[in-house]
């Protein structure tokens, strides 16, 4: 019996005839930080969306604390303690910061106060439309919005996307804090180095399948991860030379 808070077994996700996810299994222990890395198009977001109930998986099982939650819709999963911080933040721009924090989920005034404590900038901009926040602030808002629901596990989809590195530092610092408070985190990231540095355990996704997994530190040092990102391994024959190639700079 695993101690995993979240246990995904042989997950399959299809969009019409396209199989985006072809049998992914992963575990997230309670209070742990697990990351899913891989190139764009590898299926990472599909995994997250299927686990969090935004999409319906076409196969496989998702267990939350032993309870089968496969295919259950997002709004009910939120009540069960599983919440997603979506790719690109997806804050509701025309609603105020406060309203964004209150929308959906469980409205716990104590928790709301905690979120304002943790993110003072949100407290300051409480009554301003969320669309007026900077990218980094919106990311904080998206995370705060998830925290308000008192989650046991947070699924973070590409939190660093489109953010300047300094802001990414702040985001990851927050992720550390959350983890330290006992909330499990499943982190999906294109920025593999950053993610693997923060995580306990990692899974490398390519072509909809897990091609490598292990302790994060080990993956960080592994050559194969770099290869998975920068594409072709050295075993491939080079392409034939073409006549008339120009190789000038821009």
């Amino acid at each position: 019996m695993s101690a995993a808070l979240l246990s995904v077994t042989d997950l399959q996700v299809s969009y019409g005839r396209v199989r985006a996810v072809r049998g992914v299994s992963l575990d997230v222990p309670a209070g742990g930080l697990v990351t899913l890395v891989g190139a764009n198009g590898a299926g990472k977001s599909s995994v997250i969306n299927a686990v969090s109930g935004v999409l319906r998986p076409s196969g496989g099982r998702v267990l939350l604390d032993g309870r089968d939650v496969t295919g259950i819709r997002a709004h009910r999963l939120v009540r069960a303690g599983l919440v997603q911080v979506p790719e690109g933040r997806q804050v509701l721009a025309t609603l105020t910061v406060a309203e964004n924090l209150l929308v959906g989920g469980r409205r716990d005034p104590a928790r709301l106060a905690e979120v304002y404590d943790r993110f003072p900038v949100l407290a300051e901009r409480r009554h301003l439309p969320a669309g007026s926040l900077s990218g980094g602030e919106q990311q904080m808002l998206a995370i705060g919005r998830a925290l308000v629901t008192r989650p046991r596990i947070v699924l973070l989809d590409e939190p660093s996307m489109g953010l300047a590195p300094k802001v990414v530092d702040e985001v990851f610092a927050v992720v550390e804090e959350i983890r330290a408070e006992g909330v499990a985190v499943l982190l999906v990231e294109q920025n593999a180095r950053r993610a693997l540095r923060a995580a306990d355990h990692g899974y490398v996704l390519a072509g909809g399948q897990v091609v490598q997994e292990g302790p994060a530190a080990a993956l960080l040092a592994d050559e194969g991860v770099a290869a998975a990102y920068l594409g072709v391994s050295d075993a491939r024959p080079p392409s034939p030379g073409r006549p008339g190639r120009t190789s000038g700079g821009p």
Binding site: V54, R73, H75, V78, V83, Q90, L92, L95, G104
Partner: protein, 291 residues
């Protein structure tokens, strides 16, 4: 002054009706053309409740609202939800709602016959008042008051309540709303129910205003309602409000100065002008919606 009051009175009914369109459009980006049928249903059911069941007019209104709400739920479930993911979803939803509207009107004909129905005598107060040199009946005052109250109530609901927040969230970005824990299906159904309830009450009020109701009243007001939401801005609540009042006033003054036969043209004149000059309406946001 008299005209002003008349215009506001009828305009508030237009606004109440148009709000139904705009609520659904805001949340689903679809036009619900069964709405006018619900308008007619509200009027006829209202009359029946007063006539046959002996209910007071003022009690009949909430009952009419409930009936409208139920109709709205049915329309959503049958005509809109199954068509959500189709490539020609906008066309299909529009036509499905036309079909349901037609069926509803046919059912109304079955129950009430094709003739004009009226409230029984003495169903509502007759007295009038003098106000700043104009004559206004108690009835008109009450209609105006009810319309305004409902619209204010709706605005408060949308702006302050949890449900309203969820509605705005879904209107802006259904996927993000879902992620955050909003039950998008339930919110959509509720929005439909509210929109239909308002439309039904608008119908009953309209019937009270002219003391008559007939099967075709929905069709007659349908285009005006569309004109109102285009003028006010699709998906904008204050737009529907302002648009409706504007239309009511414009019509009344047009009748006075140009002649009653051209009254209905006012709506389209405004409509056209606005569509060409400022397609997003007075309050709407400039978003491009493809069919």
């Amino acid at each position: 002054m008299q005209q002003l009051l008349n215009g506001l009175s009828i305009g508030s009914i237009y606004a109440l009706f148009a709000i139904g369109f705009t609520l659904v459009f805001g949340i689903l980006d679809r036009l619900n053309l069964a709405h006018p049928a619900v308008f007619a249903a509200g009027a006829l059911v209202g009359i029946e409740l007063v006539d046959a069941a002996g209910l007071s007019v003022w009690l009949a209104l909430p009952a009419v609202a409930v009936v409208g709400g139920l109709l709205g739920l049915v329309v959503e479930r049958v005509a809109f939800r199954p068509l959500r993911d189709r490539p020609d979803a906008h066309f299909a939803g529009l036509i499905a709602s036309i079909a349901m509207g037609g069926m509803l009107v046919a059912l109304l004909q079955w129950r009430y016959g094709p003739d004009t129905r009226r409230f029984p005598a003495g169903a509502f107060p007759e007295q009038g008042y003098e106000l700043l040199g104009a004559r206004i009946t108690l009835l008109q005052v009450v209609i105006l008051a009810i319309s305004v109250l409902l619209m204010v109530g709706l605005t408060l609901l949308v702006a302050r309540s949890g449900l309203g927040r969820s509605m705005r969230a879904v209107a802006e970005n259904p996927t993000a709303a879902r992620v955050v824990g909003v039950d998008v299906e339930r919110v959509t159904a509720t929005t439909f129910a509210i929109s239909a309830a308002l439309g039904a009450v608008a119908g009953a009020l309209f019937a009270m205003n002219v003391n008559s109701a007939q099967l075709g009243m929905g069709a007659a007001i349908e285009l005006k309602g569309l004109a109102v939401i285009v003028v006010g801005g699709m998906g904008s609540l204050p737009g529907a409000l302002v648009g409706g009042l504007l239309l009511g006033l414009a019509e009344v003054f047009a009748v006075q100065y140009v002649g009653s036969s051209w009254r209905d043209l006012v709506a389209f004149g405004l409509l056209f002008l606005l569509l060409v000059v400022r397609p997003q309406g007075l309050f709407g946001r400039a978003r491009v919606r493809e069919v």
